[in-house]
């Protein structure tokens, strides 16, 4: 089980690997700086060919991502973007997509990966 922030980052990158998402994510800043949300680490990425942005935050405590999740989603919706957020232990996965059909389909693909496989 991951224990350090770095290990949780690796854990999150595994969830978002191209084999699972069928998307190529290139590094980009997360939508908010980790420190601004009270997170201890984080990273971001953008999908190639579609309007999809992903942010991942690692917190010190289990479930701590629930608190900023609401604000992040509200902010994205105010900008006309479709948000998606999943909290898994100390990790907050957050993605937003543009309004086009292909953007939304990319978001649906990410949704299937945020919370692990269908078991």
């Amino acid at each position: 089980m991951p224990s350090t922030a770095e290990e949780w980052i690796d854990f999150a990158r595994g969830r978002l690997s191209p084999e699972r998402t069928h998307l190529t994510l290139t590094d980009a800043p997360p939508v908010e700086a980790p420190g601004d949300l009270g997170a201890v680490a984080g990273f971001g990425g953008e999908a190639e060919g579609v309007d999809l942005h992903v942010s991942v935050y690692v917190f010190e405590e289990w479930g701590a991502g629930l608190a900023p999740m609401q604000d992040l989603k509200a902010h994205a919706e105010a900008q006309g973007r479709e948000p998606l957020a999943v909290v898994d232990g100390p990790v907050l996965f957050f993605a937003t997509a543009g309004p086009e059909q292909e953007d939304r389909l990319a978001l649906f693909a990410v949704a299937d990966c945020f919370s692990g496989p269908r078991l």
């Binding site: 649906f108 949704a111 692990g116």
Partner: protein
């Protein structure tokens, strides 16, 4: 703490009654003496039954040990209720037994040539209920009773261990479930499958390794009992029949750490489901929770440090569902060679549809977008065909009602959904 047996409670006191062996007899009992006897007997933990039995003109007090866990202090016998109390089972010293309420039966009776003795209505892990002599029984804890079972001449079965656990109090179960040393002994003494069956019976419930310092979730995942309370409070009408049918989360879920999660994962997914791609993989890299969908008892397993507050509500909701919808959809997957891993997209979507209001309204926390795609589809179904149609299909087994409401397009829709064909579902207005 459990009340001590009557003979221990009375120690050092001047009894108001005449002793006749282990049976107390009152001569011409008065209300005052009866009241005093009741005090000595303690609160409702002991059954004191007055019966017209014993010496002429006397009333013999029928009593037994307080219900709870005991262990045999010498060789003994479990005897039946029959007129001559024949033996059901021979009991060796150290054998655990659970004393049960005797339902008003006479607990003082003669056995063979040994004369009048007091007995307790009890069961062992493998037999009973029946009578065991009080003098043979020493009180113990659930852990003590389980340890005694583990030390027996042969490995106990999961059913035998569950029989011991079944009569324990919630406090005793919590104590055993939190006793790391005991769980380590159990893991060493039992085969892996039996050990894994004991964990949900005890209600093993670990806190996260990065525990929250306050607020909702400070204790980690809610317990199975908490999940039942929340689901039944939010969906009282919807789950009424499921509750009558005995469906519940408590006793069906384990929140565990790495080793037990891995062992349960390998048992279900590598061995029972034959998913070879998971051999040698860390279970927590694959999922945060799962259900034993290929095993006779569909227990829920949640990793203590993964998921969020709503995870147990979602997994627990499955326990309230009628299995017809899921079974038919999985059969559809099998016929169409759709990879399903033992779960159905339709089932997960409707499960999440009913989960979200429980999390938000009862646990008072936001629900993350778990099963976001499936939830979108379920929400559309409810909007088009009415929430009662979904309730009846999901909780009450009226899956046909949903199909009929949908109409002739159902087979195509159902297959596309199980294929996670989000493009088709989006284009056709289901997302």
């Amino acid at each position: 703490m459990r009340a001590r047996p009557v003979h221990q409670q009375n120690a050092g006191r001047q009894p108001p009654v005449r002793r006749a062996g282990s049976t107390a007899a009152l001569l011409a009992p008065t209300p005052a003496s009866l009241l005093q006897l009741q005090r000595l007997a303690g609160n409702a933990s002991v059954t004191a039954l007055l019966a017209g039995w014993g010496a002429p003109g006397a009333t013999t007090v029928q009593r037994q040990l307080a219900p709870g866990m005991y262990v045999l202090n010498a060789r003994g016998r479990l005897r039946s209720e029959g007129s001559r109390h024949p033996k059901i089972e021979s009991l060796r010293p150290g054998r655990p037994a659970t004393v049960l309420p005797n339902g008003g039966r006479k607990s003082a009776f003669k056995i063979g040539t040994s004369g009048l003795v007091e007995n307790s209505w009890a069961r062992t892990a493998s037999a009973g209920p029946g009578w065991i002599r009080d003098a043979r029984l020493d009180p113990t804890t659930l852990v003590g009773a389980l340890d005694a079972t583990l030390r027996g001449p042969r490995k106990p079965t999961a059913d035998e261990l569950r029989a011991v656990i079944a009569w324990a109090t919630p406090d005793e179960r919590r104590a055993a479930a939190a006793d790391d040393a005991f769980l380590a002994r159990a893991k060493k003494a039992l085969d892996s499958d039996t050990y894994l069956q004991v964990l949900p019976a005890l209600g093993v419930h670990r806190t996260p390794d990065r525990v929250k310092s306050g607020g909702p979730g400070a204790l980690g995942h809610p317990t199975g009992h908490d999940a039942d309370v929340a689901i039944r409070a939010e969906l009282a009408h919807e789950v009424a029949d499921a509750v009558k049918a005995g469906r519940q989360v408590e006793g069906e879920v384990s929140v565990v750490g790495d080793q037990d999660f891995q062992a349960a994962f390998d048992r279900q997914w590598v061995v029972a489901a034959g998913q070879k791609q998971y051999i040698g993989k860390n279970a927590w890299d694959i999922c945060e929770a799962f259900v034993d969908v290929n095993l006779p008892k569909r227990h829920i397993w949640i990793h203590r440090s993964l998921g969020d507050l709503g995870t147990i509500i979602h997994e627990g909701m499955h326990k309230y569902a009628d299995s017809l919808l899921r079974d038919e959809q999985i059969q559809l997957c099998n016929v169409n060679k759709i990879t399903h891993g033992g779960t159905s997209r339709l089932d997960e979507g409707i499960t999440e549809y009913f989960t979200r209001p429980v999390v938000v309204n009862q646990l008072k926390v936001p629900r993350a977008d778990y099963y976001a795609n499936e939830h979108k589809v379920a929400t559309k179904l409810a909007a088009r065909f009415g929430r009662p149609t979904l309730v009846n299909a999901y909780f009450n087994g009226d899956f046909e009602g949903l199909k009929q409401a949908f109409g002739k397009g159902w087979p195509v829709f159902a297959e596309r959904l199980e294929r996670s064909d989000w493009r088709w579902l989006l284009i056709n207005g289901w997302m």
